[in-house]
């Protein structure tokens, strides 16, 4: 467990993809079975056991430490698991016969069968035996909060490197494998045959687009590309196929390959033809695409009630076909796959699944005009759900990952306003011990004259250097403290103006200002601007009108 913890810890700090791969491959090579198999399962999200609640962890530490010291420590560190891992008292273990720290396999297999009442005692025993990093990883694992910044795809690529295999081969057999993957490692190390995948509806690793820059256009010929709308929904892969008994199996995968079928039972009956569709999940009401805000209310629900299904009818808008019956179409050029797709959707003939239309254009200027005004370029009433255009090379095969020069996304310009920093809160986790969560507001006339009304919260967009500057500003200009929240001076002549960029705007009754921003981020610090020159609520309301008028 300590060795796995060390790997997690190091991965969390390492930004480079290739370096992450090296760390992963080195770990997988040096760690014996079954530990490395369970590690691979943990990294690919393939482990399942009941997670411990944070309250349980809190109780454990409260029994062992002074509550005042715990409070001060938690406030400083900002993350419960890390605080507990760091301050867990050294166990006064008698003699030299201390038990060895648990292995990862021991932890995983024990957690699978452990009764709820035995969990606290078992956890405490492990925490006594592990070192700081081991305790941290254990707590992240048992609370289900292990975020390590690597994708399942990267972990599989690292495994492939063990046996000099193509990561793609791992993806193909992956659905048929189970932790701790002894047959996979045996094959990779030349000790066994290639495992076979018997999954009738497997996931195919997705192809991703690059964000296009102004300078890219000069090197690209419009004639080589097909354009589509970029929908503001959820990218999914809908796969159907017949199992050994001839039963049709349908699955919906997220872009990372997570099986999300259970959340969308209403779409399953529509997937009645054997094939693999790449498309966008949207909510449609009376044939009209709803905004992302609406779709969001359908996501991440524990229970998918009939009411939810009725109020948020799910829809799949298809833009690519990766396979049909037994045939893998991914090697074909996009233009040909598109032709297959059009036929497939026609044959499917289902109201829940339609074709994402192409956008006609003969020059980049024409496409720019379409992107600026999707409503009059074919998107019609759905224009509000368009976040830009996608450019796909006619000749491009479907390549996993983000291959250069094949697909581009060209987003609509983000909106920008100048707002005033009003409140700041310490970041939890990554930004702990810094004031990194900011509530900002714009001016409006109220009963007492001009006042600031909060319009959003931003957690990112700034550089580390800027974070230090804001953090210092917050500490020096606090007017009041409410628990973790600091009120920061925000007067017409005194305060900090933040340039905030955001992707979209919607009416909201939950916000005092009546508007809600999508994806706001700090794009610049305007030390040069006095708060009185910041934007007004009317500006946002005008933007809102512009959006709906489109």
């Amino acid at each position: 467990m300590n060795r796995f913890a060390e790997l997690l810890d190091r991965l969390g700090y390492e930004p480079g993809r290739n370096n992450k791969l090296r760390l992963l491959t080195a770990y997988l090579r040096d760690t014996p079975d079954p530990d490395r198999g369970y590690a691979l399962a943990a990294l690919t999200g393939a482990l399942s056991f009941k997670h411990a609640k944070p309250g349980l962890i809190r109780d454990l530490i409260m029994d062992r430490t002074d509550p005042v010291l715990f409070g001060l420590s938690y406030d400083y560190v900002g993350d419960l698991s890390e605080t507990v891992a760091l301050m867990w008292p050294k166990a006064p273990l008698p003699g030299h016969n201390n038990p060895p720290p648990p292995t990862l396999s021991e932890v995983v297999t024990t957690l699978r069968t452990l009764g709820k009442t035995e969990l606290p005692k078992q956890l405490a025993r492990w925490l006594d035996e592990l070192d700081e990093t081991g305790r941290w990883a254990l707590l992240k694992l048992v609370t289900g909060a292990m975020r390590i910044g690597i994708s399942a795809r990267l972990a599989k690529t690292a495994v492939a490197a063990l046996g000099d295999k193509d990561p793609h081969d791992i993806e193909l057999i992956w659905p048929g494998l189970a932790p701790p993957y002894p047959d996979l490692f045996a094959w990779l190390e030349g000790r066994g045959d290639k495992p076979v995948n018997s999954d009738p509806a497997p996931f195919r690793p997705v192809m991703l687009a690059h964000a296009i820059e102004d300078t890219d256009f000069s090197n690209l010929d419009p004639a080589d590309f097909i354009a589509e709308w970029k929908w503001d929904g959820i990218r999914v892969q809908a796969v159907s196929g017949r199992d050994e008994r001839g039963q049709m199996q349908a699955r919906l995968y997220s872009r990372t390959g997570e099986d999300i079928t259970k959340s969308f039972p209403d779409l399953v009956p529509s997937l009645h033809l054997s094939g693999a569709i790449d498309g966008e999940l949207l909510v449609l009401r009376e044939g009209r695409v709803q905004t992302f805000n609406v779709l969001q209310q359908r996501l991440n629900r524990k229970v998918v009630s009939p009411k939810l299904i009725k109020e948020f009818p799910i829809h799949l808008r298809a833009y690519d076909l990766l396979g049909e019956d037994e045939n893998d179409l991914r090697e074909l050029p996009f233009a040909e796959r598109r032709a297959h797709l059009e036929k497939f959707i026609k044959k499917l003939d289902d109201p829940r699944i339609d074709l994402s239309p192409t956008v006609a254009f003969d020059s980049w200027d024409a496409l720019m005009a379409a992107r600026a005004d999707p409503a009059s370029a074919g998107a019609g009433e759905d224009a509000e759900a368009v976040e830009g255009v996608m450019l796909k090379r006619r000749e491009a095969p479907y390549l996993p990952g983000r291959p250069k020069g094949q697909w581009w996304k060209w987003k609509r310009d983000p909106h920008i306003i100048d707002a005033v920093l009003m409140y700041a809160q310490r970041g939890h986790g990554k930004r702990s011990s810094y004031y990194s969560d900011y509530t900002f507001g714009v001016w409006t006339s109220g009963e007492g004259g001009e006042q600031l009304v909060p319009v959003g919260k931003a957690y990112f967009g700034f550089t580390d250097e800027e974070l230090l500057q804001i953090d210092r500003f917050v500490r020096r200009n606090t007017t009041e403290k409410f628990g973790p929240v600091r009120h920061v001076v925000h007067e017409p002549e005194q305060g900090l103006v933040l340039e905030v960029a955001f992707e979209g705007l919607a009416r909201s009754s939950r916000h005092k200002s009546g508007v809600a921003m999508r994806f706001p981020r700090i794009s610049r610090l305007r030390w040069d601007k006095p708060p009185r020159e910041a934007d007004r609520l009317e500006t946002l309301e005008r933007m809102l009108k512009d959006v709906t008028a489109n």
């Binding site: 010291l69 001060l72 070192d131 702990s432 011990s433």
Partner: protein, 345 residues
Amino acid sequence: MRPQDILMPVPAGLCCKPGGFHIDPVRPVERAVITHGHSDHARPGHGAVLATQETLDMMRLRYGDNFARTTQAIRYGEEMRLGDVRIKFHPAGHVLGSAQIAVSCKDTCIVASGDYKDAEDPTCTPFEVVPCDVFITEATFGLPVFRHGDAADEVKKLLASVALFPERAHLVGAYSLGKAQRVIALLREAGHDAPIYLHGAMEKITYYYESRGIALGELRPVKGVKKADLAGTITLAPPSATSDVWTRRFPDPVTAFASGWMRVRGRARQRGIELPLVISDHADWDGLTATIAATGAGEVWVTHGQEDALVHWCKSRGLAARPLDLVGYGDEEEHESAAADEAEV
């Protein structure tokens, strides 16, 4: 005599009226007694300075020959009369030449420990527990989450990374006085005998350590070395330099940082560190509490750092304790970066 009649915090620092001197004054004073050479404790412009030979030498290296009107060196264990008090220097284990200063008047003894650590360090004399009535302790790492572990293990981590990434350079951010030399010495103890490279700002002080008989192996200035030749090497640099354009001279550098702050992940991430090394020249929580208990002091004054937690701990043990409101001191590493205002909280 009450302890606060012997030593009292004033804006210039800790003032000893009956002895006619200040300890680690932050403003120019007539007579200064200085615990160690870090710039927040040892400042220029005083009349007379009393300190260990090493501390005086470091001040001279940093500020030039005229950093004080007169200087006087004192050895560990040496006692001296100043006005109505007696003072005695004891090793603090923080950096080369660092001292705790015991101030006695009649039968009351106060120990101003400056910065200290009770962990092993091959580059300085080990910390010594000095029994006293009042113990003045720092609290840089005064929270129970700061447990620093064995520095040798952290150095092993660094060497493992060098072995895994032989084509990359490893850049270790370390405060140039004390931490850098300790890291080098630990690398040598771990069997790393390749040349170690130095950022220009580290050279003078590191060669000074060598001149005091501390063996650091082969050292080379990094300036002028070809990029490709730095693959697989270790370079020590001031923490601020590791996030600078200066790093572009290294092949795909791994940025490490040797500091007690690295115990907290958020801190390390914040600074863009890829390889945090928990190596501290300050006592950790267990060190602080064990030392306080070992001095037998009935009263504890707590200064720079996380005073609240340590004061609370002392009180829960039945000790009289209070924070000393001294300004102008910080953790030296944080001094070099912008995050020094933690002290405001």
